[in-house]
């Protein structure tokens, strides 16, 4: 796994530098807004989604300069979702990546605006003419990114999650919820490479199957960590789902059942990558890492 660790570390450094450059600094008396955006975005994190964008594009030898705006944009959208989800009106979390959440460090109004502005900046970035040279690719990427983040994807999944506090979900419900809440951004990240390379058909579909498998595996692993992990390792509160009475994959499948389902999904993910041969080795490593990680 050290091959993956090294590659992820290198990408994280590149992404951090790119994000630092893309997020402006204060322009006026609005300094607090940009401080909050920078605080939450540059606080670290595994940069898993940008890694998937870059690796999926590398399968088709897309020049990294054409890919970086999209890789940074997906991380901005992921960060916006965390900033808003952590708000008192939503999940009311005080700790994120081992640091005070955005609204604890600043205030609720600033956190709302910082999330809004990160979301908006992501779209500004992907459509910028200095990214991919083909405007049709930029428009298609933006369209798919918005669909993944919006009502049919992540935001709709978050609404389902909030509604889940008042209801009893079965395995099909929880799977559907997670496919939207966390799966949609994974799906975009993994298929972005094919869009950037103007490949459709079988290759895009194979990346889509890979994404489906790792997205679900990621959530099952998260639920396992929520039971087995510690707050110190995760840098955020644990066992919140149980406290909120929300059904998790561990509740529905049991500990052993959840572990074996996750292992099966890793096999599915690796199998989906077969057409790409050795070029997809790091993506196979990602699938294995997702269920083996400790945070």
């Amino acid at each position: 796994m050290s091959r993956l660790k090294e590659a992820m570390g290198a990408v994280a450094a590149e992404i951090n530098a790119a994000l630092d450059g893309y997020i402006p600094r204060s322009q006026d008396s609005d300094g607090r807004l940009f401080d909050a955006m920078r605080y939450s975005t540059l606080a670290g994190g595994k940069r898993l989604r940008p890694f998937l964008v870059l690796q999926s594009a590398a399968l088709f030898d897309v020049p990294p300069d054409w890919v970086m705006p999209c890789a940074a944009a997906i991380e901005m959208i992921h960060t916006y979702s965390l900033v808003h989800d952590d708000l008192p009106a939503m999940d009311n979390d005080d700790l994120r990546r081992g640091l005070p959440t955005c609204h604890k460090k600043f205030d609720d109004a600033t956190a709302i605006l910082a999330g809004d502005t990160l979301l908006t900046l992501a779209f500004e970035l992907v459509t910028a003419p200095d990214g991919h040279p083909d405007a049709a690719v930029r428009a298609e990427l933006t369209h798919q990114l918005a669909a993944a983040a919006g009502g049919g994807g992540m935001a709709g999944g978050q609404m389902m999650d909030l509604a889940a506090e008042d209801s009893t979900l079965d395995l099909a419900d929880v799977t559907r919820l997670q496919r939207r809440k966390t799966g949609a951004l994974f799906h975009f990240s993994c298929t972005a490479g094919a869009i950037l390379a103007k490949r459709g058909g079988a290759e895009r579909a194979a990346l889509g199957r890979y994404a489906e498998a790792i997205g679900l595996a990621f959530q099952i692993a998260d639920d396992l960590l929520d039971v087995e992990g510690s707050e110190a390792e995760l840098g955020k509160a644990v066992q919140k789902d149980a406290a909120a009475g929300k059904a998790t994959f561990v509740d529905l499948l049991g500990l052993e059942g959840a572990r074996s389902r996750a292992a099966q999904l890793v096999d599915d993910a690796v199998a989906a990558l077969e057409p790409f041969g050795g070029k997809a080795d790091l993506l196979s490593d990602v699938a294995r890492y997702i269920v083996a990680r400790k945070n």
Copy 2:
């Protein structure tokens, strides 16, 4: 002015129908999200920004089908900004367009998510392949729309506005703030026609000057209405700025000074339209209407 009233009424009906079609209905247990988006977006309103998009495009005979997604998107972004600005953490307003604000009708979490999702849907819409047939135009429109709505535009202006509660602003500060908070979306709306028609240079610049003038006139008129209007006419709370200790154009210029500045801006706006001749008559009417309106 009845020529304008008739035209705005016809456009409002078209836009309402388009918005109704563009905003999906419930897909699952996320129904509350779409109900909230529909509640706030379809609650009425003058549809001034879409009207500007459609009229600016009509100057260049752009087919309405190519324009409608962009016209609906600007209204979604305007609505998202109202939904978030009304939240308790921001301006804490209970009434909007004569109805309970989104978070009063639903709850804070739903209002945050509904705003997020409207913003995201706007970008999904403008980049959709069934809008303008040229992907380069769709990408450019999205890029400019994101710039107008983001940190350098509307969202940054809202942060300046929140920061203004703790400081004393002079005329230059308030002008700069409003140019971003309300001016940026007007600027986008008026120049969108030139982008949709692939016109640059003098024509786009003329529309930009028109937009600058009506944007500022709109805000001065708002400040005048805040002093002179009634809650019943406006459908929202009045004299909130004074209560919050925020400087307005009326404070800084006096009642007469504000009225005469607004009148001068209307003249500037009409003058900027000269190159377009009689085709721009409705846009000239809009400039006059903006300062004469009662809500």
